[in-house]
Amino acid sequence: MSVAAAEADREAERAEVHEQRALGFWLYLMGDAVIFSLLFATYAVMVNNSDGGPTGRTLFSIRNAGLETILLLVSSTTFGFASLAMRAGSRAETMSWLLLTFGLGLAFVGLEMREFYGMVQAGAGPDRSGFLSAFFTLVGTHGLHVSIGLVWILILAGQVMAKGLTAPVTSRLFRLGLFWHFLDIAWVGIFSIVYLPGLL
């Protein structure tokens, strides 16, 4: 490729990136990042206030946390592949990757629900201690985000099927991608601040 052509390609690239800057949605994500940061701070302040009740060492399972980590990370990658298929204009491939992402996300939420249910059954619900209130608020807020993301994936998969990869649909998929990748970043914080130190 000649220097001029490379430069033109870069220009086109810049224009495309600028068009996809999604500033409004980006600002929403930053607001969400502030919310998660404060929930992390609350958890860090409350983590030792277990009121003589169960602590992370007995409640958390490294196997469960590890599985959840893998599911979310793989789903983030498969969403990346969905974005690539979308840009390549392949409707069927985009759908397949989206549905795979949905399945992985659903498995994640399933594992989390099972964990929460087991804890509540064992008398370690959010009303047991300050530690558990902070735990359920933080991890539950993340789980709620993932659940909303799942509904969102289904809606957009429906739009890809019904409308095809039109400009509005690809633009929405781009924002959903930002949201989904962002949730995996929040999860990195959760296993690094909640699960792993709790099991140490």
Binding site: E13, R14, E16, V17, H18, R21, L23, W26, L27, M30, A33, V34, S37, L38, F40, A41, T42, A44, V45, I62, A65, G66, T69, I70, L73, V74, S76, T77, G80, F81, S83, L84, A85, R87, A88, L178, H181, F182, D184, I185, V188, G189, F191, S192, I193, L196, P197, L199, L200
Partner: protein
């Protein structure tokens, strides 16, 4: 599809991000699982691996790039970082100082 642009990543860049994230998750999980290091050092490794993994996610999944990401988005993330620093740092300062003064 094979355009390996920094703007949105390619098959290869997603794979690189995935592999790096797997490694940066496996190390802290392994250390906690085996208790191979003293607790203090393990905590340090967990923290460093988390920061590195977040950078990997920002670079390879969210395609954040100092040259190509629009300036207003970078400004927003910088402003968020300042807010988080003030609010989280301030909360810790107040709460742990209170804890200390209450003789806890």
């Amino acid at each position: 599809m094979e355009r390996s642009t920094t703007g949105h990543g390619s098959f290869g860049s997603y794979l690189i991000g995935f592999v790096l994230a797997v490694i940066l998750s496996a190390i802290p999980f392994y250390l906690v699982y085996t208790h191979a290091l003293p607790a203090q050092q393990t905590l340090l490794v967990i923290g460093v691996a988390a920061v590195l993994q977040i950078l990997v996610h920002l670079r390879f999944f969210l395609h954040l790039n100092l040259a190509l990401t629009p300036r207003e988005n970078l400004l927003a993330i910088a402003f968020t970082a300042i807010l988080v620093f003030i609010m989280v740092g301030g909360s810790f300062w107040i709460m742990f100082d209170l804890h200390y003064r209450m003789g806890g």
